[in-house]
């Protein structure tokens, strides 16, 4: 590491106040939506006894998966010694924490009994991957906070690498845990797959890098500092490869099921006949979230800031489409309790479950993004997270 990188506290500008105001408004509206859901009960949402996890979970999983991926830049800098990324290391750690807090807040506020958070923190069933995730999430916040301290405090800088290594390993385990929440659901055809764990790691790399790119460009705009085009170029290429990696795992996941005769029904549903879900898969994730951004990111002609913002936003759009298909589509497809029979009941056995996201769910989810953005904006205003100006090539 060299000391050629200096960091600055963001000076407030009208752009800063506008962005922070929007983020705060979203966070407050999200809280209001959660309050409404808790007072009235979940019948005011689109969720029901068949689709028990809805739009809030799409947002929460997106934020949590992005959080671990947002740590990429810091990890590449301090663990893998690529000090070109050092200017992004602090903001990378901050984003990781802010996104995780935003995601966990959405997750907790969507509980049937959010007032029982203390029970979730004091009663553990260690056979549950969910319980392990509670440790992984809170532990991640602590580990990254220590990592940031090592970065900020000059006397502790020598411990940056070990702290970064612990954080890097922790985030890999964390994302494995998040993927396993779905992967361990043996009863459901659309989940129940070991490939979900590595797929979630690839997703975290992709989503997190897209968020980092957007934050970097927003930071340079708010801080009126030029964008570091060398980092931009590298991150663009990385993002393209990460998007391709996600596509690879998604393809493997679907191909594995397509090969097994017993699982072609769920594939036909998700890929062809399932209404909104095939549209989101092919157009949302496939075309808009994968093909177009990969072309944009790997074509030098589109290497400008605005094209990169566009490509990153498309990747995130694809991320939402993917999570919607995975989480909600996976529940909508009926479980095959009676193979070989046509089922009919008052509990919607044998039919595709209906789900229409409601406004409170959407507002709660956006509130999580608002909260994450607000935390990051307040932090860059009070502590020197953002790099100052352009950086010379460090000695390594």
């Amino acid at each position: 590491m060299t000391s050629s990188v200096t960091f600055q506290i963001l000076r407030p500008s009208s752009g800063f106040w506008l962005t922070a105001g929007i983020a705060a408004a979203l966070a407050i509206l999200g809280l209001a939506a959660a309050h409404h859901m808790e007072v009235e009960g979940h019948y005011v949402t689109g969720m029901n006894n068949r689709v028990v996890w809805g739009l809030p979970h799409v947002f929460a999983v997106f934020l949590i998966v992005s959080a671990s991926g947002a740590l990429n830049a810091a990890s590449i800098s301090s663990v893998f010694g690529q000090s070109l990324y050092k200017p992004l290391s602090r903001i990378s750690g901050l984003l990781a924490m802010a996104l995780l807090v935003g995601g966990l807040t959405v997750l907790v506020l969507d509980l049937g009994r959010p007032d029982r958070l203390i029970i979730a923190m004091t009663y553990y069933n260690f056979e549950s991957i969910f319980a392990w995730n509670i440790f992984l999430y809170t532990g991640f916040l602590i580990v990254v906070a220590v990592y940031l301290w090592m970065m900020f405090e000059p006397r502790m800088n020598r411990f940056t690498r070990p702290a970064g290594t612990v954080s890097f390993i922790w985030r890999l385990v964390l994302t494995t845990g998040t993927g396993s929440i779905f992967g361990f659901l043996v009863a459901r055809e659309a989940f129940d797959s070991a490939v979900l764990a590595p797929m979630f790691i690839a997703m975290s790399l992709s989503f997190g890098t897209a968020v980092t790119l957007l934050a970097m460009m927003l930071g340079s705009r708010l801080g009126q500092a030029p964008v570091n085009h060398e980092i931009l170029a590298r991150l663009r290429t990385l993002l393209a490869y990460f998007v391709i990696a996600v596509a690879f795992f998604v393809a493997i996941d679907h191909l594995t099921r397509l090969y097994a005769a017993g699982h072609t029904g769920v594939e036909r549903f998700l890929l062809v006949e399932g209404g909104i879900y095939p549209w989101l898969f092919w157009v949302g994730q496939g075309l808009l979230g994968t093909v177009i951004p990969v072309i944009l990111l790997l074509t030098p002609r589109f290497a400008g800031v605005s094209q990169t913002v566009f490509a990153s936003l498309l990747v995130l759009l694809g991320a939402f489409a993917q999570l919607y298909v995975l989480i909600i589509g996976g529940q909508a497809f009926p479980m095959d309790i009676f193979p070989g029979y046509i089922e009919k009941s008052t509990y919607y056995d044998g039919v595709v479950a209906g789900y229409a996201p409601s406004l409170p769910e959407l507002v709660l989810g956006l509130g999580g993004i608002g909260l994450a953005a607000l935390i990051a904006l307040v932090a860059v205003r009070v502590l020197p997270f953002l790099p100052q100006g352009s950086v010379k090539q460090p000695a390594g």
């Binding site: 509980l111 009663y123 479980m335 029979y341 089922e343």
Partner: protein, 250 residues
């Protein structure tokens, strides 16, 4: 506190059964099934043990299509009243009508919590609110359920319901609450009083006798002997959950 209060009729009855059972056993008459049953009708103070494993046999050949006496009885017993929103209303037991895709044969049966020996809902519950009693009954501790619904994601039978709104008219023996998950308790309050679940009695009252309740561990009892005699299977047998509810005819 409880010492100053007179014992309830249920407690008195249980104590009587216990003492009577022990007394009869002392006489060293034939150590038959009935004796064993009486001797273990324990008081509330005694822990539930794995000496029993309660279960059900659903004989679909006796289950009438269009009859929902078991569902109505369950709703009455536990105070389940619909809100007119079928997608979010609680259903602990439901009638499923099946038609064989190849042969067209039609079957009707009740579906509820299968009280698995290896319940996925219990495995995934982060707080331990979903639990399995020693006697095999799978329950939700309403006091520590946080309403995460992971158990509903994991249940292979869609046997659980989430309470989507405020409730009224609850039964004291079957407490429920908004924001938590619930499912068939196998009428644990009745089982603890040596009574059969409400659905089983209702089915018999309707003249069908499609539901047989009993102890899977009691080889001479009505359930285990029926299962030894009949060809039965568990639902989702591929998952190897060893359910306490067995079906014949599907």
């Amino acid at each position: 506190m409880s010492q100053s209060q007179p014992p309830s009729s249920a407690t008195t009855r249980r104590r009587f059964f216990t003492q009577a059972g022990a007394g009869v056993a002392l006489l060293a008459l034939a150590p038959g099934v009935r004796l064993a049953e009486l001797a273990v009708a324990a008081s509330d103070d005694e822990p539930v043990t794995d000496a029993h494993r309660w279960g059900l046999w659903v004989d679909t050949s006796r289950c009438a299509s269009g009859c929902d006496a078991c569902v109505s009885a369950c709703n009455d017993e536990h105070g389940l009243t619909g809100m007119g929103r079928p997608e979010t209303d609680a259903q602990w037991i439901r009638k499923v009508d099946l038609k064989d895709e190849t042969t067209g044969r039609e079957v009707s049966l009740p579906l509820m919590c299968q009280h698995c020996e290896e319940p996925p809902c219990v495995d995934v519950c982060p707080t331990g609110a979903s639990f399995r009693r020693e006697d095999g009954i799978v329950l939700v501790d309403k006091h520590i359920c946080i309403g995460c619904r992971y158990c509903m994601m994991a249940c292979p039978f869609h046997a659980r319901s989430f309470i989507h709104e405020d409730l009224s008219g609850q039964k004291t023996h079957s407490p429920r609450g908004k924001g938590v998950v619930e499912s068939c308790t196998l009428c644990v309050h009745r089982v603890d009083e040596n009574r059969a679940p409400a659905c089983v009695d209702a089915c018999a009252d309707a003249g069908h006798h499609a539901l047989v309740f009993g102890d899977l561990n009691d080889a001479q009892g009505p359930l285990a002997s029926a299962l030894a005699r009949e060809e039965t299977d568990e639902l989702r047998s591929d998952l190897k959950l060893n359910t306490a509810v067995r079906y014949s005819g599907v």
